[in-house]
Every structure is written in C-alpha cells, then in structure tokens.
Amino acid sequence: MESGAARIKPADRPIFERSAAARRADPLFRAGLTVLAGLVLVLLAFFFVFLIVKARPALAHQGVFSFVFSNDWNPSKDVFGAWPLLAGTLITSATALVIGVPVAVATALYITELSPARLRQPLTILVELLAAVPSVVYGLWGVFVLIPKLRGTESNVADSLSFLPFVGGNVAGPNYFIAGLLLAIMILPIVSAISREVISTVPAEHKEAALALGATRWEMIRIAVLPYSRSGITGAALLGLGRAVGETIAVVLVIGNSTVVGKQIFDQGYSLAAVIANEFGEAANDPLHAGALIAAGLVLFILTLGINGLARGLVVRAERRQGTRLPPPTETAAALVTPEERPA
C-alpha cells in the first residue's frame, strides 16, 4: 500500500497552489527529520572512533593480542592482560545461558501452547516484571540473600559432584556461579519474550496437522513448533547472551572481583564490565590504566556487536517467514502490539 497521494504536488494543482513559503515547509520538515536520523549514525561513529583513540595508548603499550589473551591484569605494574576478565565474562554468560535459556523456553512454550487462556496474560506480565527490576536491585539481593543462602547447597554440590570438570574445591562467597545465576534471572524475560514472539508465528496449520495425525500435545510441540522456531529461539538465546555479556552492576557485586582466573565454577573471578565499573575511579589520573579500561569497554562493545548482529539475523529470518517485522528488542514488544495486529 504505497501512498499514491504522495505524488500529488502543488504544481499539479495550480488552482490551489500554495504560497512559496508554504511550499518550502515540507522539504524543510523532511530534511530536519533526515538530519536527526543521520545524527544517530554520526554520533555512534564518533563515539567508536573516540573510544579507539583513547584506548590506543594502552593497546600500544600492551599489544592487542596480549591485551586480550595474556593472563595477567595488574594495573599497579602497568600490566594489562585482560584474559581473566574475558574468561570471567564468558564463564558467567555461559552459566547464565545454561540455566536461563531452558527455563525461558519452557516458560514461552507453556504460555503459548499449554496454559489456560485466562492465565496467559497474567503469566506474560509476571515474567516481564522480572525485567522491571533494576540490575542494582538484583545485585543487592544477590549479595544479601543469594550468597549466604546458597552457600551450603553450593558446598554440597561441590563435594558430591567433584568428579565433574570445574566443580569441587572450596566455595567462595561471591563466585562465578552466583553471578551466572543472577544473569540467568536477568536474561530470562527477554529470552522468553522473544521466544514467545517467534513461537507465536508457527502457523496454526502445522500444529493442527500434527494434532490431526494423532500427535499428543508434547509431540505437536516437538514436531511442529520447535523445528519451525528453532532459529528464532537460538536468536533469542543469543540476544540474552548479549545482555549477559554487557551486564555490569549485578555482576560486579557478586563475582568477587579477583583478577586470578578461577579453577572452578565456585571460585571468585572478574568480568570485563565489572573491571570498568570498579577501577575507573583509580584510573582517572592514569591515562594508561584508563586506556586499558576503555580498551576493555571496546572489547565488550565488539563482543556484543557480534553477538547481537548474529542474533538479530536469526530472529529476523524467523519472523520474516511470517511476513512480520522484528518487534522492538525490549519487552516493549508485547506491550505494544499483538502479532496479528502488526501490518504485513
């Protein structure tokens, strides 16, 4: 439905011709909005360049490869090997995915396919409420509730499952697992919301065909719903991963902030985002240290860009089959429009 009316120009209608001033208003309006949109791009590019410039001294001092992969973060000696931070980011995010994604997908499947119709809306809202809690509040809760209450259980698990890799040994109060668990809770609403969107695009015909062939509800989910939405759910999980990688405040409070890479999941560690939040104060007067932190931010930026680019591709592809556009990536999607309202 392209607007045909847009072609009607004042010149076509000499009788009602507008004054010269009135005619100038439209291009001006259009130009103004275009500039605004362009400004966003310019701003992003500017920031990116600025970050690189500021990170340069530290990267030149340490070497890019060595910055990312050498296992020694010691700002007081001007040694900046960010591997312990990167490792912590990866370990906690992986833990978050392992715990959070199955729960989120189960929630999405239950809400869309199994729950009674009148529970659907309340359940959706409740899951989304998890996203309304600020990360600093999760951090507060993690420090004063999760860490003390889970310590005993963690010790038991560490003792009884010590045959597993990366499990066993002493349980530190703040550790990778606690951070991963908090992150799992924090990514749950977004993974669940997008999975729900994707699952709701599965054509009813597919599901009905499965049921008509005598499939049980679960078999219908397994043979009709999951294969159709697999790439979309993968995308949702990746978007969650992007969130987990960049999360700062909750992690900095419960990860222990130790620059030594932990040997097991209940050891203390550090993450890229956490180190920035923690050390920028002392780094303010030391360009090298500040540069290293900015470089850590740059690594974080590039990491999340890659993950989100991939995720978006997957989700868009999943949604395009239905002819719909990708909903806003935040929880706003569900609040604004139901899928059938979205124009094709």
Binding site: G4, A5, I8, R13, A22, A25, D26, L28, F29, L33, T34, L36, A37, G38, V40, L41, L44, F47, V103, A106, T107, Y110, L123, L126, V127, L129, L130, A132, V133, P134, S135, V136, L140, W141, F144, V145, L188, G214, T216, R217, W218, G246, T248, I249, I276, A277, F280, G281, L293, I294, T304, L305, N308, R312, L326, T332, A333, A335, L336, R342
Partner: protein, 292 residues
C-alpha cells in the same frame, strides 16, 4: 479433545501418553521456576525495605557517617528524577523524530535501513559502554565541569533513544495509510499530516513506548557511575555532581554498617515502586492504543 478422535483411529500408547504428561509437567514447572526469583525478590524488598524506611528516609540527605544515623535518600530520589527528566526530554523527541523519519520518509530506502540497523545495534550496546562514551568525550575533557548531572542524563538518553525509536516505529506503522491519504487528498501539507494526523493517532502507543524507556533508564546504574557520579547533598543544578538512587544503592551495598545496608534495601524498594508505577501507567496507555 483430540484424544477421542485419536482413540477411534489408533489408541495413543501408554508410553506416549506418559511422555506427554511428563513433558507438560516439565514445561509448567519451568514456568513456576521462572517466577520463583520474582516472588523472592519482591518478598525481600518489602520485608527488608520497609525496615529501612525511617521517619527521615524521604526528607533527609545521606550524612556520610559510617557510624550512627546514615540519613535518608532525599538527594538521591530528587537526583534520579532530575537526571531522568532531562534524559527523557532529549531521548523522547529525538527518538520519535527518528522513528517519524523511518516511517514517513525513509521507508525502504538504503539510508533508512542503515539507520534501522544502527538503532538495533544501539539497543545491544551494554549500558556501561554508554557511560564510557560520555566519560571519554565529556568528563575527561572537563566540558562544563567534570562529573555533572546533565552528563548522566546524556548517557541515559543514549540508552533510551533506541528503545523509544523502535517502539515508536512499531506504533507509527500501525497508523492506517488511509488516514494519511485522506488528509493529503484534502491538500494538507505533509508536515501537517505528520504532526496533526499521524502523531495524535499514534499518541497512546508513543506514550507507552516512551514510558517504558523512562522506566528502563531510571533503574540504570552503570551509565551514571562515572558521569553524574555521586554526592551527599540535594542539588537542583544539573551542572553539578548529582546523586541518584541506583548509584546510592550501589555505594551503600558495600558499607559494613547495617543501618546503611537497610537504607539500600529501602532505596531499592523505592526505586522498584517508582519503576513499577511508570510501567503500570505505560500498560494503561497501551490498552488505550488498542482501541485506536
């Protein structure tokens, strides 16, 4: 309902029925597990938060004393409101403007696609990186002082902008093309169609999206840590260091003093209640938009 039909043809085997029942239970259990943290967080927020609400909690500033009375969080609450108000004043008009460009003019042009892509990119950028952006460009260069409230607002605005734009684009897309065509056919210039027809029609949806962005910005700590920083006293001057609830909570958590930790819980309760109120208003506005 399908069982009766299925039984007529070939009875579903006991094993399949058991699998079905077990998997349904697993999915339901997953949903319950997802809601446990919500219940726990809310429970602890109220049980510990109410304890920390002293009579002067809302009316006094933090004293900075490590022993004795830690004071209230007046400066933090006011600071949060001021910082977020300025951030909204920047992010909402710009965000809706960009969305208007995308829907009304850009449509499927290459430039519009590029803008859309980078708006998506922005939603994925970690909030601390936005703080870092502002820190390296405005704070270290000491433009208008080092740490100031308005720099915190800018960092939050960067965070809120893509949320506003993405949600605004969705609702603007929903405005029926026939409305625009009718107005254009009557000889109304494009800018007037946009401002007087498209925007009012989409208004409830725009309000919802904007409010959700405000709620999101309100809870962010990381972008404020090294932009507006922290301070004890109340200030109404966005050109000075400014306290905010999230940063106040963050600082209070690591204090070895029960009174200060209680204040953190009470502040957290306050913050969550403010955010929930905004979210609730947003939902009410969203319900209106369905009618439109």
């Amino acid at each position: 309902m399908n069982t009766t039909a299925a039984q007529l043809l070939a009875p579903t085997s006991g094993r399949r029925r058991t699998t079905d029942r077990v998997m349904r239970a697993v999915l339901a259990l997953g949903t319950v597990v997802a809601l446990i943290p919500l219940v726990l967080v809310i429970y602890y927020l109220f049980s510990r938060g109410l304890k920390g609400m002293s009579s002067t909690f809302f009316t006094s500033d933090p004293t900075g004393n490590f022993l004795g009375d830690p004071g209230g969080v007046k400066s933090a609450i006011l600071g949060t409101l001021e910082i977020v108000a300025l951030a909204s004043a920047i992010a909402i008009p710009v965000g809706i403007g960009v969305a208007l460009y995308l829907v009304e003019f850009g449509k499927k042009t290459l430039f519009a696609h590029v803008v859309r892509y980078f708006i998506d990119v922005m939603t994925g950028v970690p909030s601390i990186v936005f703080g870092l952006f502002i820190y390296v460009t405005l704070v270290t260069s000491k433009i208008g002082g080092s740490f100031t409230g308005w720099k915190g607002s800018l960092a939050l605005a960067l965070l809120m902008l893509p949320v506003v734009t993405r949600s605004a684009e969705v609702v603007l897309d929903l405005v029926p093309e026939s409305l625009r065509e009718a107005a254009l056919a009557l000889g109304v210039p494009r800018w007037k169609v946009t401002l007087k027809i498209v925007l009012p029609t989409a208004l409830p949806g725009l309000i919802t999206g904007s409010l959700l962005a405000v709620a999101r910005g309100m809870g962010e700590t990381a972008p404020l840590l090294f932009t507006s920083a922290t301070v004890m006293g109340t200030t109404y001057n966005l050109g000075e260091r400014m306290n905010s609830l999230p940063v106040q909570i963050f600082n209070d958590i690591s204090q070895p003093n029960d009174a200060i930790v209680n204040r953190a819980w009470a502040s957290a309760l306050t913050l969550v209640l403010i955010i929930l109120t905004i979210t609730l208003i947003a939902r009410v506005a969203a319900r209106r938009s369905r009618v439109a």
